[in-house]
Subunit: 205 residues, 2 copies
Amino acid sequence: MKFAEMTCARFLEALASPDPTPGGGTAAAMAGAMGTGLLVMVTGLAKSKTSSDAEKAALAAARQALQPLIPALTELADADAAAFDQVMSAYRLPKATDNDKAARSAAIQAALQGATTVPLQTLRACAAAMAHAETVAGDGNRSAVSDVGVAIGLLEAAAAGAEANVRINLASVRDLKFTSAASDETGRLISAVNRQAAAARSQLA
Amino acid sequence: MKFAEMTCARFLEALASPDPTPGGGTAAAMAGAMGTGLLVMVTGLAKSKTSSDAEKAALAAARQALQPLIPALTELADADAAAFDQVMSAYRLPKATDNDKAARSAAIQAALQGATTVPLQTLRACAAAMAHAETVAGDGNRSAVSDVGVAIGLLEAAAAGAEANVRINLASVRDLKFTSAASDETGRLISAVNRQAAAARSQLA
């Protein structure tokens, strides 16, 4: 069953169970979806009756960009759990013969790359959402200022959580071209998230 | 319908809708429940086969304290939306006569105190969960280090979101004894949350 189809209570129970999945990567993606949802809410509230056409158009464009990120992030919540399950399955493969060992090692490496790629996609989605936070903060209704603040905080926590999951899996990946590209992109995305969060917060003050 | 009984997809839809509730206060409480859930998960994973009895007992005590905070936080997610709806209803009361005006003003003040108390309770619950993060980080299984990191980030974001909701409502409350007590407690709780988050993170390094 997909996490989006579970009740919130059931999802929280699954998080709290000692099974390794769903874990932090899934929770990060769901927190990103919540933060994005709050931003979408505020795009639905015009600043005032006197909002300029440019302000209205900017909010509408942000809304259109943000909306598809919510289902994308809930899919990534599922993908994160699946990717981690793959890693564990790979570690459980037989290692009796040299052939076994080589096959197991290849499976582990492939699974670890998958378990890196998924949180990297979560990080990309959080960065894509945060890219609109300043517009939403500046052109959205002032009565929603605390909603935007919570959205920014959740997206930051989600992005940092996704980054932690990228880096912990990346540490065991042996393909240096892959690790270097993933590490560089992760660093760039986190910088952008932090910069955009600060710019958005300055609109709320 | 309670948020805990909604599917995650339906809850996210409700957050994203332009209706003012559920908003940031509800999202903060749910993020706190997710962070707490991840900590509970890690209390279910002993550090190693050689964990000392003291480590096992500390994890078990943390688990017992953390578990009830999950349903408490989902209840607060509902209570936050209800409290905000009360504020909006109070503002909609008639103000034709002086009697109307006095009754409306009293209703607004009562509702604003409610809308301050609920996120303050959310903040207390997040602080209560964060109080165990250092133990979970130190005595939990090392393989869950990124899960604990995500939990800390979500609880920080939830606590900051709850604080923002306390302060924005408190700004319109006129009872100075109430505002001063709530403001003092909020400051103390946020300091404790930040201190405990730093202590827990130092165990993860």
